[in-house]
């Protein structure tokens, strides 16, 4: 940069100096020519330009005139004098004007019009230069224009002059022109043509003295051609020299250059920065010297501070000892001297201690050997007393004791040590207790007693197990039921059911307190119980009938009856219940349904008819049927089993099986909680209508199709007529009113998503004693609230997307729990959903990844150590190709890290070598 700057400066200097010289030279030439021409009228094309060029101080025009006139007289003789005079004119102003060109040449063009000047000027190179350095085409164009203008004006002048002459003299203008031309050509020359005396052509041509003109002088001499060639070359490659710029501009340019340069310098960091940015992790904890690293280093830093340490240090650091260490072990021994008294003292002390110990030992042995029970009892008593006393005295001991006790208890609970689990106890039990002697029995009972004592607290806490036990019993009973033969099981089951129902009917106890004891609750309870009672009665009756039936039926009949599915036969059973319970359910197709079922029952024995019937039967919408059954069956099932405990579907199933008399199904039905599908799993090989049954008991979705088939097949049998298409369709979809179903579904969904408001109820407790609620009705705010809620709901329903769409349900249910797992918009750096999902797909925890990869997966973006100074970036060469590979590998971090650091080191080394 600096170099460039210097060059620039030089250039400007050169330009200044060189151009100045040039100009001087040329100017002098022009002046000579001018002087020769004198006051001649001229039509030089370059007048304007020349005029413009004349700047700076000049001779006053009067003086000039005089000079010219004198020159015309002694044109040839004294050039030197003229030159002297002109020297003044040209040099000073030129220098000055060129030195600091503050003004644009254009301005000058405007300021100094060429008309003022009559004298002629030859075009100089400088002019061209100036224009070139300005480099603006416009200006040069303007110049040309002005030249042309000047020319025209001159031409006009000439013509006018000629015309005037013609008018005066009557001689044609050509004569004058000729004369003028001639006059132009007139030149009296005393000297021969040479470089010192410009040739005629040079003067009356364009007025320029070219190098060629000067060269003519040496034509023919040796080396002429060489010179000429060189001149040609120079001409071709003519360099323009710039003028210096104003300081502001110069500085601006300089700054620009500086900025460009510094930009370039800074750009060298780019690959390195890019590498850092792209790296998944930046490491700042490399190459740290924490200081002490070995034990030796730490130890060497140790300085004794306390007296003791100093004493030790003085001993250890003793010059003699050190020397001995360094030299030999023998010297050490010499230094290691102990006085006789010291040794004796020590020995005495040791002997005393030993004897004391011995005595104590002997005493302990003696005590241990004492066999007197009395003694031991007393000792024990003493010990206990002491312990109790201590317990009373200080709470710490008491606590300890309690802890001990608790620990013992816990231990007992854990190990069950005293519950006949020991080898000894087991052996005795194996042999039989009665055969043992009294002592052993006592020991065993004692042990059990101890166990009871230790675990007493535990048992007292557990009091709710009785009910569980009973339930267990029940289960066992059930199991027994399963195991016994079918008939037995059936009867047993039935009797059991009967018992249960009766029991339930009997023990309708009233709660004594709490909310349940309140009158309205009691009423409700009563109602419910009544219903349950009725159902139970029903069930009982049914049960009895079953038992009878069971007795009647033979083994051969059994499977046939079993073929009828649970659901259908169940329908028959329900029929009865409905008759009794005055049709609680409001299903439309109840009658239809029950008729079919009745028919089915009636025709249960004949085969072929049954098929069609069954098929017809299928026409009933299975969903509704099922619902139906669910509603009406619930009480029955409740009566069968524990009302509260048993889940709905299971009991339903049980009942259905029960009603259909197929005892085979019992096993399966109890094992699996599923619904109707299960019954199809039972294999009954001898059955003629197995397939049908399976179809019948298929899932809800399938059954519709089947139903259509059924209709078609049944309709096809009688005398066949081609029905119309509409009729066909109508018939085909006769049974199912899809639209209605759909509407119902939609309503349900609407209700679910915008739940209907509950009617305001009386506020319990409020003004009860004055019956104010009954008198005045509900408080107005409540009603208002209700109204508002209703309105809101209406609006919400209207706002729904599917409000206008009759055949569409657009669910607007938002799963709040799921919503918190979704982002509302795509997070910033990600460009597509897939990428984002991909980024959180794989888990990163240590449970889900091997230990080798967990570190890399969890590594933070910046790894640094607190307490380590981080230095600014240092320049290093980065190979972009190498980096790409490294980046790929970055998943496996520890390896790459080391390799990277190694790479860095390598580059550093290279740098060093370079430097």
């Amino acid at each position: 940069m600096a170099e460039k700057k210097r060059r620039m400066k030089e250039e400007t200097q050169q330009r200044q100096g060189g151009s100045g010289k040039n100009r001087k030279l040329l100017q002098s030439k022009t002046l000579t020519v001018e002087k020769k021409k004198g006051k001649k009228k001229h039509n030089s094309r370059n007048e304007g330009k020349a005029g413009r060029r004349k700047t700076g101080p000049r001779l006053p025009s009067a003086l000039k005139h005089e000079l010219d006139s004198r020159n015309s007289n002694q044109r040839t003789s004294d050039e030197e004098v003229d030159n002297d005079v002109y020297e003044y004119e040209e040099s000073m102003p030129e220098e000055e004007s060129k030195k600091n060109r503050r003004f644009d040449p254009v301005d000058k063009l405007e300021y100094e019009l060429p008309d003022e000047f009559e004298d002629e000027n030859l075009p100089s190179e400088d002019d061209d230069d100036d224009y070139e350095d300005n480099d603006s085409g416009e200006r040069s164009k303007g110049r040309d224009n002005s030249n042309q203008l000047d020319d025209e004006v001159e031409d006009d002048d000439d013509r006018r002059h000629a015309r005037m002459l013609q008018g005066i003299t009557g001689i044609p203008s050509e004569a004058f022109e000729d004369k003028k031309r001639k006059r132009n050509a007139v030149l009296s020359e005393a000297h021969p043509e040479s470089e010192y005396n410009p040739s005629r052509g040079a003067i009356d041509g364009d007025g320029n003295i070219s190098v060629e003109d000067l060269l003519e002088g040496i034509q023919g001499k040796s080396g002429y051609s060489k010179v000429r060639k060189r001149v040609h070359r120079v001409d071709r490659k003519s360099m323009s020299v710039l003028a210096p710029l104003p300081k502001v501009d110069r500085e601006r340019l300089e700054r620009k250059a500086v900025y460009e340069q510094s930009k370039k310098e800074i750009t060298k960091w780019e690959p390195l920065v890019k590498k850092h940015r792209e790296a998944p992790t930046l490491f700042f904890n490399e190459d740290i010297d924490i200081g002490f690293s070995t034990v030796g280093a730490i130890a060497s830093e140790f300085e004794p501070k306390t007296d003791f340490e100093k004493k030790i240090a003085s001993l250890v650091q003793d010059a003699k000892v050190m020397e001995a260490h360094n030299n030999d072990g023998s010297r050490l021994l010499e230094l290691n001297k102990i006085s006789v008294e010291d040794v004796k003292d020590r020995q005495k002390r040791l002997a005393k201690m030993r004897s004391l110990l011995f005595r104590h030992e002997m005493k302990a042995k003696h005590v241990k050997k004492i066999k007197s029970k009395m003694y031991h009892r007393l000792m024990k008593k003493d010990r206990l007393k002491a312990a109790s006393a201590r317990m009373e005295m200080d709470p710490e001991a008491a606590k300890e004791q309690a802890m001990k006790q608790e620990f013992k208890r816990a231990e007992e609970r854990m190990t069950l040590k005293h519950k006949n689990s020991s080898k000894w106890a087991k052996r005795i039990l194996k042999r039989g207790l009665p055969s043992q002697d009294e002592g052993t029995r006592a020991a065993i009972s004692d042990q059990l007693h101890q166990h009871a004592l230790l675990t007493r607290k535990m048992n007292s806490a557990k009091d709710s197990s009785s009910s569980e036990g009973s339930s267990d019993e029940e289960d066992e009973d059930d199991n027994e039921l399963l195991l016994s033969s079918d008939q037995d099981r059936a009867s047993k089951f039935l009797t059991k059911v009967k018992e249960k129902t009766l029991e339930l009917m009997e023990d309708a106890e009233q709660p004594k307190s709490g909310v349940l004891s309140m009158p309205f609750m009691v009423n409700a309870d009563k109602k419910r119980k009544d219903a349950a009672y009725r159902d139970a009665e029903l069930a009982l009756r049914e049960c009895e009938s079953m038992v009878e039936q069971l007795d009647d039926t033979t083994e051969a009949e059994n499977p046939k009856i079993g073929t009828s599915s649970g659901r259908r036969v169940f329908g028959a059973a329900r029929n009865d219940t409905q008759a009794l319970s005055n049709k609680k359910s409001n299903n439309i197709r109840d009658n239809n349904d029950s008729e079919d079922d009745l028919e089915a029952n009636a025709n249960i024995d004949d085969g072929q008819d049954n098929v069609s019937l069954l098929r017809k039967d299928v026409q009933i919408d299975p969903g509704s049927l099922y619902e139906d059954s669910g509603v009406s069956l619930q009480p029955v099932s409740k009566s069968f089993d524990d009302i509260i405990k048993d889940p709905g579907p299971k009991t339903t199933f049980e009942v259905s099986i029960f009603a259909s008399d197929s005892w085979r199904k019992m096993k399966k039905g109890e094992k699996v909680d599923g619904k109707n599908d299960n019954s199809s799993a039972v294999v009954e090989p001898g059955l003629p209508r197995q397939e049908l049954k399976e179809v019948d008991e298929d899932t809800d979705t399938d059954s519709e199709e089947e139903m259509v088939d059924g209709i078609l097949s049944s309709g096809a049998k009688p005398s066949y007529e081609l029905p119309s298409q509409a009729d066909l369709i109508h018939r085909a979809f006769a049974g199912d009113n899809v639209e209605e179903d759909f509407e119902k579904d939609k309503l349900e969904i609407l209700n679910e998503e915008n739940p209907e408001l509950e009617k305001p109820v009386l506020v319990p407790g409020w003004g009860q004693w004055t019956h104010i609620q009954q008198k005045k009705g509900l408080p107005p705010w409540m009603l208002e609230e209700h109204e508002n809620g209703k309105k809101k709901r209406e609006e919400a329903l209207k706002k729904r997307k599917d409000a206008r769409l009759k055949h569409v349900i657009i669910s607007e249910k938002i799963d709040k729990k799921a919503e918190k797992l979704h982002t509302k918009t795509l997070p910033y750096p990600y460009t597509s959903r897939e990428v984002f999902e991909q980024s959180i797909r794989m888990p990163i925890g240590p449970e889900f990844n091997p230990a080798t990869s967990v570190g890399a997966l969890n590594r933070p973006e910046v790894v640094k150590k607190p307490g380590v100074i981080i230095r600014p970036i240092k320049f290093e060469e980065v190979n972009p190709y190498e980096k790409a590979e490294e980046h790929k590998k970055s998943g496996r971090a520890p390896k790459t890290k080391s390799s990277k650091s190694r790479g860095e080191k390598a580059t550093k080394m290279q740098l060093k070598k370079k430097s």
Binding site: S262, V273, K864, G867, I870
Partner: protein, 532 residues
Amino acid sequence: MHLGITVIAGDVASEIFGIVETEEGSVKAIFREMDFSEGDFIFFFLVGDVASEIFGEPQSFFLCLPLSFTETYPKAAVTNMKVKVISRSADEFTRERSQDLQRVFHNYDPNLRTQEKAVEYVRALNAAKLDKIFARPFVGAMDGHIDAISCMAKNPNHLKGIFSGSMDGDIRLWDIASRRMVCQFPGHQGAVRGLTVSTDGRILVSCGMDCTVRLWNVPAASGIESDNQYDDPAKPLAVYVWKNAFWAVDHQWEGDLFATAGAQVDIWDRNRSQPVNSFEWGKDTVLSVRFNPGEPNVLATSASDRSITLYDLRMSSPARKLIMRTKTNSIAWNPMEPMNFTAANEDCNCYSYDARKLDEAKCVHKDHVSAVMDIDYSPTGREFVTGSYDRTVRIFQYNGGHSREIYHTKRMQRVFCVKFSNDATYVISGSDDTNLRLWKSKASEQLGVLLPRERKKQEYHEAVKNRYKHLPEVKRIVRHRHLPKPIYKAAALRRTITDAENRKEERRRAHSAPGSRPTEPLRKKRIIQEVE
């Protein structure tokens, strides 16, 4: 499908399947009375004599048999089964010390762990909550100055030392670890406006309104046992009086030069009483100056004519000037990215620029509600701290539009200077209330030595939190900050104002010929001109 894992050893094995015949690589065994169903896999872990009986080697094996022979069940004779044997050497499993953890082997099959995402989400949530619980950023305050703190300097070579200069001309050196003053440097007559320390940490340079530049000897790290050459740290090494008051000073990274800013930018050599170079571009006061730590010969200044100017000392010339709509109070170069710097502007924002493309800011960091007074980059180059006139300190990501963290206390007044500590762990702020405050750069970071397992755990928490940071719940918890009421309100007000402006602009655009009002991003909007 069930997965049964059976450990069979010794007698039990022979009880379960009677081994009929053993060949090399093939097993013939009869299964007895085992309840299998189709599609089951049984894993046999054979230990001891059974294994040796089958394979002829006294080792333990692990084999997996697909149970596709239910047809022949229950008495299935298995012949010629291919057995895959995993053999593990004992040295891999022996612990070196009793404290070592037992090696645990996991089956990383994702089918076995279907809840992993849910588990990690909950962990992320918990990590975010824990972060909030443990967020205690304020470490302590250092009081002692009797006037507002105007500038600070950290010792590049020593972690614990920090220098602070106050408006009354007092300079103090603090020990961060003990949060106590180490020594004082009296001498300035007017406010101290600039402090800087040479890279080797030996010389402190201060300048101020009294038109002097003072060089001080920094006492050695150990405190008492300093070199006896300069026996008194209270006396400056040199005092250079100059023509104009100074506003800022900064030392070159690894060089002898330092630059002062005032009426013009002067470059000084430490050993000369006169500046070696001075630059003047425009007549306005230069307010701040910062050397580029990566490129030690490049420096940037900001001046009161709202300009930011770059200089290059290699060519001893200014390079480029950028004029913004509002004044820039301070500049910080990114120490890890030598082309980037961030300017703390008077209009509450910080602007990150690339020194090569000044026509547009790379990032606008918004969040402060009053002028940003000072800025300093973390040595990691990934974040920077700003102190503002709104009495808060904020930490930004180098490429984040909004702050990561905000620190404030009830008693902290206008913050005039902030610094990141050299290990990027702490942040120090100096404010109008004459106190220096020490903060953690990560509010919930655990200080002190971490065990490797602790560190791993925290890394995992961090990673998980980072992974799920976009989900609303985690985001809410992570972003939530308690703000002082005035700041909260000011922020709301600012938001309203900018919203209104945007709306207006939008409407104007809508009502004018398309293309006649081009949208100008905020990154460009605040730049008036780039002067060559």
